[in-house]
Symmetry: C2
Subunit: 217 residues, 2 copies
DNA sequence: TAGATTGTTAATCGATTAACAATC
DNA sequence: TAGATTGTTAATCGATTAACAATC
């Protein structure tokens, strides 16, 4: 049964394109917040206002997977949350490792949003001895020297780099050696990694340049 | 002269599409880092490796504005930096305001990357009295009560929200009332703003969902 | 020269948008 | 019923990709 479903999902026609998946996860975020604000249904136009994705595009993305809405009414937030989570298969627990317990590491690790999406920070590593043993969110900060051992033991596939640029490449190398396949790079460094490892670089300043240009144009 | 240039730039054929602008600013970031690493030239393929943008697309984006490369050699990093900065017109100084001097606010405000791109944090606001008077980066933290006055005085058009979700809408309202037109929302809140204000919501957890899905697919 | 890389064209693909019948 | 909103189609636009002559 499980294998059958797995085979079914791997057939091309059942797989979700990366563009669709990226948009679905943005809808998920809006729905989560809208629910917190006490709403129980939402229209494609409302989701469009918050995501800057066209309302027609949103309806089309959703209708690929089923008829989740009610004409004249909109979408049930609870119902749609379940459907999108099912489509993205993010219901299961994913463990991630955070490297760096500085200001940015603390800000990321202290966020409650990971838990809400089935993601848990399984370990936090730091070289600065004054921070080892303290907590980031609810997780103990571990000595960086134990990184490889802990990553392997806990079978962690996702690493978040919140370290200064000069330390980023070494940390990336260590994570990759321990088996990490997805890296979130919050440093300014350009990382070289093997081709089977995905790097996502996220940077407030680059985002800001985009927005400034949008406005100044 | 200045008015003439302004009229010229507003003609459609001289304006840069938002897609192109977004990609150019990513190239800018890669070039900045490559220069720091001591390189003085770079190929479109190397930029492609770091940005996940196709090398052909990069060459085409650049060739819209001139022939900046040398066949068989690549691009001069210094030369290309100047050209892209000129195209994006980010050479001038832009002032931004940061609201919230917590962990995330400190992490953002303490980054040197803003200065490198001609952006300066002109003011940091905070309601927590224990943080007022301290510094974030090289800027004094100001009492939130002076927000509107300072924003107006310094003619600030860009605001960065690094506050808890429950405080975000009020802070956005105050910034907009003072004249801010671009908001960077690092909180989880969904913000309602007038239609002439642009909101960019950036969220590590949503990014992480994208990446996880890419990998699990 | 030989190898490498740009600048550019042509073909394909996915995203965007407008429009509207279906229906709650 | 009347108003609102979905689900879907068709047309357009921009991004992606492969290929390759030009040329450093």
């Amino acid at each position: 049964m499980c294998m059958l479903q797995s085979a079914e999902l791997s057939r091309p026609e059942n797989r979700v394109g990366v563009g669709v998946a990226a948009r679905l996860s943005r809808y998920l975020q809006v729905l989560t917040q809208a629910k917190k604000m006490g709403k129980d249904r939402i229209s494609s136009q409302e989701i469009a206002d918050y995501t800057n994705v066209n309302a027609t595009q949103i309806r089309r993305d959703l209708s690929k997977f089923g008829k989740f809405g009610k004409r004249g009414v909109g979408y049930s937030i609870d119902g749609l949350l379940d459907e999108i989570r099912r489509i993205l298969r993010t219901q299961g627990q994913h463990n991630i490792a955070l490297v760096g317990a500085g200001r940015l590491g603390q800000a990321i690790g202290g966020s409650s949003i990971f838990g809400e999406h089935g993601i848990s920070i399984a370990a936090v590593f730091e070289t600065d001895e004054s921070k080892i043993g303290r907590k980031v969110g609810s997780v103990d900060v571990i000595d960086y020297r134990f990184l490889k051992e802990v990553i392997r033991d806990r079978n962690i596939l996702v690493g978040v780099l919140a370290v200064p640029a000069p330390a980023a490449q070494q940390a990336a190398d260590d994570l990759v050696e321990a088996g990490v396949k997805i890296l979130f790079n919050y440093s300014e460094a350009l990382l070289d990694v093997p081709s089977d490892v995905t790097v996502h670089t996220s940077n407030p300043a680059v985002d800001l340049l985009h927005a400034l240009y949008f406005h100044l144009t």
